[in-house]
Symmetry: C3
Subunit: 491 residues, 3 copies
């Protein structure tokens, strides 16, 4: 994902005649890798450059791994909910995947990536693209893509199709996050509508602004704010978007019956299968390597070694921080919170993974692990928001932290030419305070726009078909009355 | 798999002095990539061309992903059966894998692929091969391979060994399908015999005819029926073979006690762990990317981008079609049927995935999703065949549909020189009705020959050691009496 | 991993001016692939050679697959233990992963790999390295690495960071093995300390001796014992180390309450979820392809085809040998033992996988399958050691067998220049008895040193904080009293 805007902006810089050496290399690669699908026999070996082939395989394998994260989310969320709602929780995780694919195919990919002309690392060039752009005070503000609906204009371009797959699984990750926070009380028809809203419009919108060449990416060129909002693999674009939407949804839905009692006590409502949730966590950690290392869109970029190691280190630091803090505080090692700490570390390292040292990755992960614990407790006790799996804390809070962490720890060893701005990406601690401002703006915009639009959507649904199942369905369980099948009929 | 016959036929066309430009490229690659294992130091870096190395890695990673589908099948089938038979169902899925490996190693690989001399994309050439061929009226009809038993003649050729692994996991997929349809009543010894029969003989036979250079692949050259029977990744070779064998087995075994009652009522006999089955489905969708995209046998073929995207789109369309149809008809979203719809879409796109547009993939998947629902209901209500997991509908019916769909929707953008026939592969809707006929013949031959041989096998077993456990074993559960261990002893 | 010492020793042989042709090729590759990270723009495409990029991707994907084995271990061990200890068993598997990452980051990687200067296949050169070496009688004995603590000196080298990740997951495999043998009675704090000891010191020590350029690898150069101790992917380094440590731990801990009764009877104490254990086994078989084929550290080495096929064949032979033997002996097919047989085959082929024919792989796997059955029964009945999951038999016994099997069956077709000794690796049956002696010494050293150090560690813990939970905790279950949360609260 991360190179999307770079691709676009190299294109722009070309036109602006300010080509950097790096960009020249990129374009040269792209030119020699052109794949004239209609002219040459389509299945001849090695029509593209071998570099493009290696990178295409890398993007696909990365995409497969991210798709597999859906299994992790399904197990995590189902394990953390009650057995009477297990089919419902699992089914939301199973069904969100096809909804996202079809919704993203119809409009999402076009809105998000319709303004990106080429994927240089994948050997594609010459795709027709267009971005709806607002020109204001001499600056161009990309708002939304307008080409590639239904993949019609790119239906034989391997790179665009691979990128479609890669983009789908990232959006699927964002879209599945609210199914955790809103579990055990969400009407399936309302959930289905939400899936279409998220995949066809909400995610693509913010995604376009950061990865599709939109205005948040352009803040560097337009206003000298670092390289604009930079998010390597999705702390803000994917996780914060999911977490913030989950927050809006959980607020509109309200807490589960029995969660917050009249006397002020908080019900535990423990999930029915903690081992399942822990397996889900490990599966997520596995798939995350595709998430982060795949986001170079190029195995020919040796940075993949650093990215994968950073991803691993931050996850470990997050898990140990959460585990040791709670162990110290309450006297028992809390396995479930270690899971959330590990995931928090992963979410936080997602934006900065390519830009920071392994040592910084440990710091970022440790902070995320502690943040998760604090946020889970605060959301429940202070704000009385009921999030059965901790999705808002893990994805929303740590997503924001990850985007900001890039603005602090990026060490200037990577990101030459990113978003059309020359020089590498540097954070506040390495001399570029404006990059931190760009990160802060991206986070604030996510919180305002994504939250606002999500809230609007949920309120409209509330006033029409309703978001929540009736109380008797919730009491009996959504499996029996909403889905019509039990999870464990004859154990 | 898909390139097997292409490899062979490029070889033949060479001898026939009708080399196409594409074939020349292939052979040139192969020649420069020759690996003289005995002469040069075996572990020097880059003895093969880098393209061959990339492709070898691609085939292996694809094979690993397909192997992982065994986990998906195991969870799907075990989740859909009762807890008293959970160890038995799981053990069949666990044990079929080693049986298939050893059976295929002994004879299966030789019978199926013993006539294939080279794997051009993998840099192998000069392997001694032989196919038993019937010459009739001036035409050659390949019947079965006769070399490479026990891998003896290729025990140091990396490409042949990688292809062995890749072929094993495909055959394992076919072999595991009947364990679902025949679950909860199959004697373990009879199952074991079946595993040997399937891996050593039945699967390799039809596999040879389509992928090993046999007569179904030769129908294009011999009778101008398109490019002969074309099956990119196994709708007919793998899935229909498995589904048709499952049909024969389920018919011989008969329904489970309590399924079809004297008064005509149909017992539900629900599985014991629906979340497990749904996780299994998602795992299958993950592994399927290896199944389809891996079947190029070449990451240097950029078509992998289109294949992977088509695979994803068809699965989504199948899932949503099944879900929405049943939701509309019965008022509840049926998670289990959404799983079967998703799998039906995957099965159906498997043959045509490389030859059709993303838009056609959605049509193929949607049709498959509706077909699955219809076939499940029809098989149970009309034909009174008891298939606990819906394997016959998913793999048999959608497998046939997939093979035919290629004959309809192949758009002429891929497949130059396939099976030795010049020009790309085109379906009925793109001007080549003869391709549809070739697809129809392949499907009919599968239905007749595979069903006939499987039925014969099951009847012979029935009259000797018997296929079915005694009624008291079925009542008590196969775990306690057939396997000697409970699935959940002390929950 | 396997090339680590080769890298080092090619370096040494260079200095000794005895460069073989193979080594020259390796070094030439390395030179042309130099990545001057500080000078050139860090994210330009293709700064390294494409071969190095392909290999880097191969190592990472292999590492991801091995990391995923943690899910397999978690499910296997948790399934084989009782539900009252499910959270504890699962949590040990979940938490050992972050402990290992942080421990290995702090000191482990430095001690094990701090003496390795380069990764030629990954395009790295010029890393500062140092090994603490004892010079005795004109021979150099490498003892332990002394550079790269906290990854500080390699924090921007992609190859070193990828190798860190790859090394972490191998050590994690070793470290997780004792959590199975010591399950259901181990205090969590003692387990935590063990995790640090294993990742920071014990595993790296033996690992350095075999893979880091240490004295066991040098036995070929120093004493003409074949190529020194050779272990391609870790039968001795990973599995035997884990199994031997598990043995020491299980001995110090003692058996679970109820295992060995006063009257001499042996309690079965069956696990609570056999299907979960069987799924875990299949997941391990999946991840193992990364373990073995990834250990070339190079997709450009076509041997990966043979390695993957051998891995598959040995696993199948092990599973069928164990299954058929017990089926024949006790009249029932034992699914759990088939799992252990499959794993035993995998453990045994891990050292020799690159050096033997597919036919030999079947022999090695078959032997391992029978060995596992014998060892499980012997350990329990004769030595009265309580190992809930059979980890000592699977990893310890078959690990030793695998290392020895290399010394028997290596056929001289691979391993030119391994550990600085010219000529390929040959076992006893192919003319080099001294290689078998080197294997025997490596196994003996593992048994003596690893067992001795592990025992010392466990005894010290025993005398300070104690290893074992109080009897009432064991009776009630570790989940309720040690972890503070139930696995299945409201099923």
């Amino acid at each position: 994902m991360a190179r999307a805007k770079r691709a676009r902006w190299n294109d722009l810089t070309l036109r602006a005649a300010s080509v950097t050496a790096a960009a020249a290399t990129l374009l040269a690669t792209a030119a020699s890798a052109q794949v004239p699908l209609s002219a040459a026999p389509a299945d001849a070996h090695a029509p593209a450059s071998l570099t493009a082939s290696l990178n295409l395989a890398w993007v696909l394998v990365g995409g497969f791994l991210v798709m597999f994260m859906q299994v992790g989310f399904a197990m995590l969320e189902t394990g953390f909910t009650r057995s009477k709602n297990a089919v419902n929780t699992m089914a939301m995780n199973m069904v969100i995947y096809p909804i996202c694919i079809i919704g993203f195919w119809l409009t999402g990919y076009a809105l998000m990536m319709g303004g990106v002309a080429q994927w240089p690392s994948l050997g594609t060039t010459g795709i027709t693209s267009h971005e709806l752009t607002l020109n204001l005070g001499g600056h161009a503000f990309g708002l939304i893509g307008t080409r590639k609906f239904g993949l019609l204009s790119v239906s034989h371009d391997p790179a665009s199709l691979a990128m479609f797959l890669f983009a789908v699984v990232f959006m699927d990750t964002a879209a599945t996050i609210p199914t955790g926070a809103m579990a055990e009380r969400w009407k399936f028809s309302a959930f289905f509508l939400y899936g279409l809203f998220m995949s066809m419009f909400l995610y693509p919108l913010y995604g376009n602004w950061v990865w599709g060449g939109g205005w948040l990416a352009q803040m560097g060129v337009n206003f000298a704010l670092g390289h604009g909002h930079v998010d390597f693999a999705g702390s803000s674009v994917v996780h914060m978007t999911g977490g913030v939407t989950a927050l809006a949804g959980a607020m509109v839905l309200g807490p589960r019956i029995g969660k917050f009692r009249r006397d002020g006590a908080i019900g535990a409502l423990p999930g029915h299968n903690l081992p399942m949730a822990m397996i889900g966590t490990l599966i997520l950690a596995f798939g995350w390597f595709g998430f982060n290392a795949g986001s170079t869109l190029a195995a020919s970029d040796p940075r993949i070694g650093l990215i994968a190691a950073n991803t691993m280190l931050a996850s470990a630091a997050g898990a140990l921080a959460a585990l040791l803090y709670l162990w110290h505080r309450y006297g028992k090692p809390d396995g479930a919170m270690a899971c959330n700490g590990l995931l928090g570390g992963l979410v936080a390292i997602t934006a900065p993974c390519a830009f920071v040292t392994p040592q910084a990755a440990v710091v970022i992960g440790t902070t995320a692990g502690l943040l998760v614990v604090g946020a889970v407790l605060k959301l429940e006790r202070r704000f009385r928001i009921d999030d059965p799996v901790g999705a808002i804390a893990v994805h929303g809070v740590c997503g924001a932290w990850g985007a900001l962490a890039l603005g602090l720890f990026a060490d200037g060893s990577y990101g030459e030419g990113w978003n059309g701005v020359s020089g590498p990406v540097r954070g506040l601690l390495f001399g570029d305070a404006s990059q931190f401002v760009a990160q802060l703006i991206g986070v604030a915009v996510n919180l305002i726009v994504v939250f606002g639009l999500a809230l609007t959507f949920f309120v409209i649904v509330e006033r029409t078909i309703g978001n929540r199942v009736p109380a008797e369905v919730e009491w009996t369980g959504l499996d029996a009355l909403e889905m019509g099948s039990d999870a464990y009929p004859n154990v």
